[in-house]
């Protein structure tokens, strides 16, 4: 091959093509004192991309609470870490793979899973659970079927093969995602608190090691692609989608964990977005050292790759490590056993620079501080827009019978069972899965080997949430509700919420109303995290989720992790016969029900605009503490959060499994409504007011005592029976078998 001409300077046009702005290019030339060559410009462009630099969101992300007694590692590392006692810690993070998954759903989703797993095991943790949050377009849109099938197969293809259980998540459909689906994958791992590995490089002269798969031309400039809007010629971006190999992923996982049992390794980082560029730059800069890499030593899959291509390839299943000097041979043995490439590619140097050599020529020489610390931080203009529309329930009210409404809600794709999806994932491999978020609101995985004698063990509980309608109508309140609901899902499963990871999916931040959604939801998340004592320990931002100028619904996804200190205290959501159902957080007075922004509105009004149900975070916390206290005192037999759909659909979910019935005790003021006042009944049954939980109990008297002593409002709905009929006296009766059929078959019928 011909030698690369390193003297060719990058032109402004080339820089813009790489994703840099004119201003950024000028800044680069000025700061490095020369016009960069193509490789250098490529590295700058990757580091300055939204994906790596968080330039639009950085200013606001900094405001989030990130510390707490139980936080071992907050944002800034490969993943966040929290202490769960007994010298153990939980490592977790969520990350998006939206753009690649739209272009190639199978590979996009598969590599999303692979990438987030590497973020977790690179810290020394064995991954124990995968979750994923998916958003697809309208179910009738021509691409939805293809995208859904591809994404689900891709997630399964990677997770099932590598042998980490996929234990939950959520899937929603809305036309705003027609041309820009969301695939957010979350991984959770378990690590010994004293054996955590970080990414900061150290020790001048120490060897830099490349392990894993070979480098090819796939995914070049993926980070830049993920930071741009789509247009109609999205197909032309196909070559930038990375290709995953879960088998190599599995070998890499086992080899890394085996190496981590030794004392040979100093620091390690996954080659994720922007591949070798971001991993080498970040490791060296965190360690306050420099790095020198000989590109001729990189294991390559294709011939004649330029230094630009090598540095920006996003080939999967690769890691960068710094070893102790002299440890190379022992480490190499482990990787050979697993048939993986192992190459010494460079060394740590003392000047804080990244120096790349190819064929004995320096092809890149850039100052690290500049790349990391001086990457732009933008203060974009924003406007937090809240919906001015204030609809009375009257406007949303639909005259259909309760029966028709409830069957429509239960059979709606955004409510019905996602069994068609989750059965394609291996959810029970590793043998520790307790709940996949079907029999309890949260997904629950046992801490392996935590049982001792009579003690049955501990578990980690995980929930993921985002209600985009709320964020759209009021970013701040919506942000609060998203966190509150994630926490509520943990509490009703018997867990104590500990911390969150977030994935902020939005449209183009250069538009001030989109920037307003970002800023507003971060403000809401901040407030809720502070009130509920669940700091943010990791996260990801995905912007420019737009096609032809149309943005997705704002989708800041929250993944929350909690601890169950005794698995015998887990609360499930299926009620049994002859238990009394109560609403916690509501009494019979003054309750009209909040139908705006509800699933009821979404299904029957064809319009999402409206106000958002108010949330009082202090009250939310009181309700959580109350439910935990009830659980400690063995008052709760089953519990479920009231969220999408409101009281009636959520209550029916508790009755489905055992095909129970109930005679609903309606508050007197809605017992005898004439036709034009039926909206009060609908509000009561379908309103989505916050901070409410349904529980079933065999000890109603004890519950009432606690309610008085703790001053928490409760309302008795009635006693379950085995009739399989939900009676709403004087109005309607609902058949549970019919509900079960709709609930189970709605999605399979849509995707036969």
């Amino acid at each position: 091959m011909t030698k690369e001409n390193i003297n060719i300077e990058c032109t402004l046009n080339q820089a813009i093509e790489m994703g840099l702005t004119e201003e950024e290019f000028k800044l680069i030339c000025q700061k490095i004192g020369k016009t960069p060559n193509l490789t250098e410009a490529g590295i700058c462009s990757a580091m300055f991309s939204e994906h790596c630099s968080y330039k639009s969101s950085k200013k606001w992300l900094k405001t989030l609470p990130t510390s707490g007694d139980h936080v071992i590692q907050g944002p800034g590392e490969n993943a966040g870490i929290i202490d769960i006692g007994d010298d153990q810690a939980i490592v977790f993070k969520i990350e998006s793979h939206n753009h690649p998954s739209f272009i190639d759903p199978y590979q996009g989703a598969a590599t999303g899973v692979g990438g987030i797993l590497r973020d977790v095991f690179t810290m020394g943790a064995r991954p124990i659970a995968l979750m994923n949050v998916l958003r697809f377009g309208d179910i009738n849109h021509s691409l939805t079927n293809h995208l859904l099938r591809g994404v689900v197969e891709g997630i399964g293809g990677y997770g099932n093969c590598i042998g980490i259980p996929t234990v939950g998540g959520e899937t929603n459909f809305n036309k705003s995602y027609n041309s820009n689906i969301l695939v957010n994958a979350m991984a959770t791992g378990l690590v010994n608190k004293n054996k955590i590995f970080y990414s900061a490089a150290s020790g001048v002269g120490n060897p830099v090691i490349y392990v894993g798969a070979k480098t090819g031309r796939d995914g070049i400039h993926g980070a830049t692609m993920a930071s741009a809007e789509f247009s109609d010629d999205t197909d032309s971006q196909k070559p930038t989608v990375q290709v995953g190999d879960p088998f190599t992923g599995k070998l890499l996982l086992e080899a890394c964990l085996e190496l981590m049992k030794t004392e040979l390794i100093l620091s390690i980082q996954d080659m994720g977005a922007a591949g070798l560029t971001s991993s080498s730059v970040e490791m060296a800069s965190k360690g306050n050292v420099g790095i020198e890499i000989d590109l001729d030593e990189i294991p390559l899959r294709e011939k004649n790759m330029s230094s630009y291509e090598i540095m920006l390839s996003e080939s999967q299943e690769r890691m960068l490590m710094i070893l102790k000097k002299g440890a190379e041979e022992d480490a190499k043995k482990i990787f050979k056993k697993w048939d993986l490439d192992f190459a010494v590619i460079g060394k740590i140097i003392s000047p804080k620079k990244i120096i790349l050599k190819k064929e004995n020529t320096i092809v890149c020489n850039l100052p690290l501080d500049f790349l990391v610390n001086e990457s732009p931080e933008l203060d974009r203009e924003y406007e937090i827009k809240t919906s001015k529309v204030n609809l009375s329930n009257n406007k949303i009210f639909n005259k259909k019978s309760i029966k028709t409404i409830i069957y429509n809600i239960i059979g709606n794709e955004n409510f019905a069972s996602k069994k068609w999806i989750y059965e394609q994932y291996d959810s029970s491999v590793m043998g520790d899965t307790i709940s996949i978020g079907i029999k309890s609101d949260a997904s629950i995985v046992k801490i392996h080997g935590s049982e001792k004698g009579q003690f049955k063990g501990k578990a980690v509980a995980i929930s993921t949430d985002c209600n985009s309608k709320y964020i759209l109508n009021n970013p701040i309140e919506g942000g609060k509700i998203t966190v509150a609901e994630a926490a509520r899902n943990l509490v009703v499963s018997g867990a104590k919420p500990l911390a969150i990871t977030n994935n902020l999916n939005f449209g183009n931040p250069e538009k001030k109303e989109i920037m307003g959604q970002i800023v507003g939801s971060i403000k809401g998340i901040k407030e809720a995290c502070e009130q509920l004592n669940t700091p943010v320990v990791s996260g990801n931002v995905s912007l420019y989720n737009e096609t032809n100028g149309k943005s997705i619904l704002p989708t800041p996804v929250i993944g929350m992790v909690g601890i169950v200190n005794n698995i015998e205290k887990i609360i499930y959501m299926n009620a049994k016969n002859n238990e009394t159902l109560f609403i916690i957080g509501q009494d019979e007075n003054k309750y009209d029900g909040f139908l705006q922004s509800s699933l009821y509105q979404e299904i029957f009004c064809d319009d999402l605009l409206g106000q958002v149900p108010p949330i009082d975070l202090k009250k939310e916390k009181q309700i959580h503490d109350f439910v935990m206290k009830l659980n400690d005192n063995e008052v709760i037999n089953s519990a479920h959060d009231i969220s999408d759909g409101g009281l009636l659909p959520c209550m029916i979910e508790m009755l489905l499994f055992n095909k129970l019935g109930i005679n609903i005790n309606l508050p007197p003021r809605i017992q005898n409504l004439n036709e034009e006042n039926l909206l009060f009944l609908h509000g009561w049954l379908f309103g989505e007011d916050q901070s409410r939980i349904i529980i079933s109990t065999k000890k109603p008297d004890k519950l009432m005592e606690f309610s008085k002593s703790e001053n928490i409002k409760i309302y008795c709905i009635g006693k379950t029976n085995n009739t399989g009929v939900v009676e709403i006296p004087k109005y309607d009766s609902i058949c549970i078998n019919k509900c079960l059929d709709l609930y189970n078959n709605a999605i399979p019928n849509l995707f036969p």
């Binding site: 099932n160 042998g163 879960p246 088998f247 599995k250 059965e423 394609q424 043998g431 063990g457």
Partner: protein, 224 residues
């Protein structure tokens, strides 16, 4: 009771089996790396589930050429007991230690859920004797290629010999297996391949404890 668990690159149920056997037998099983060639004196060899060699080429095809396979054949020819679960079953059919082949699920989807398998009236075998035929065991499946196929003559032979160990319930066949077959025995009854994962219904936090019954019975039979 000495139990060996064979580990190939890409095996992913090896630890699950290890934990299940340790819990039930109160003895430590031994992991055997696929490049080892000397595996004598084991009462039971287990080939766990997973995606050996990424399932590339064909499920189990590459693993069936690993160095350890010769020793497994020797163990089989001595009449030793072998259990292959899921991918382990696929490896056993690829090595021809068991008849038939496993092809893609008829729905063309990976499927993971609980189901019942029904113990059949078999030839003498440590894997099934001890259970009353028609006993239902609730054990989960998790596979993409569990659709068992043999041709008509071979099927007749399997039925005649009593080599069908487990069947799925009529109408609940998850993958299109011929004759609803979920597990098959060798002609001498000492080798079993099964698609469901008994190691996932062993502990109290699992949805069922029928896998524990399966292993307890197996150990009693092997020791008697």
């Amino acid at each position: 009771m000495r139990v060996a668990i064979i580990v190939f690159p890409g095996s992913n149920c090896d630890r699950d089996i290890f934990e299940a056997i340790k819990y039930i037998s109160k003895k430590m099983p031994k992991y055997i790396w696929h490049k080892e060639t000397n595996i004598e004196n084991f009462d039971l060899i287990i080939i766990p589930g997973g995606f050996t060699f990424g399932d590339y080429l064909r499920c189990g095809a590459l693993a069936s050429n690993s160095p350890v396979i010769k020793s497994i054949r020797d163990h089989a020819s001595r009449g030793g007991a072998i259990l292959g679960i899921c991918n382990g079953f696929q490896i056993l059919t690829e090595t021809k230690l068991l008849p038939g082949t496993l092809i893609r699920n008829n729905a063309l989807k990976f499927l993971c859920h609980d189901l019942n398998v029904i113990v059949q009236d078999t030839l003498p075998s440590p894997f099934t004797w001890g259970f009353k035929p028609t006993t239902k065991l609730n054990i989960p499946i998790a596979h993409n290629e569990g659709n068992y196929y043999v041709n008509g003559n071979e099927l007749k032979k399997l039925i005649f010999n009593g080599q069908i160990a487990f069947k799925y319930e009529e109408n609940f066949n998850p993958n299109g297996s011929v004759e609803n077959i979920a597990g098959v025995l060798s002609e001498n009854g000492r080798i079993l391949g099964m698609m469901p994962h008994p190691e996932r219904s062993v502990f109290n936090h699992h949805n069922s404890l029928d896998g524990k019954l399966f292993f307890q019975n197996l150990m009693e039979q092997l020791l008697s």
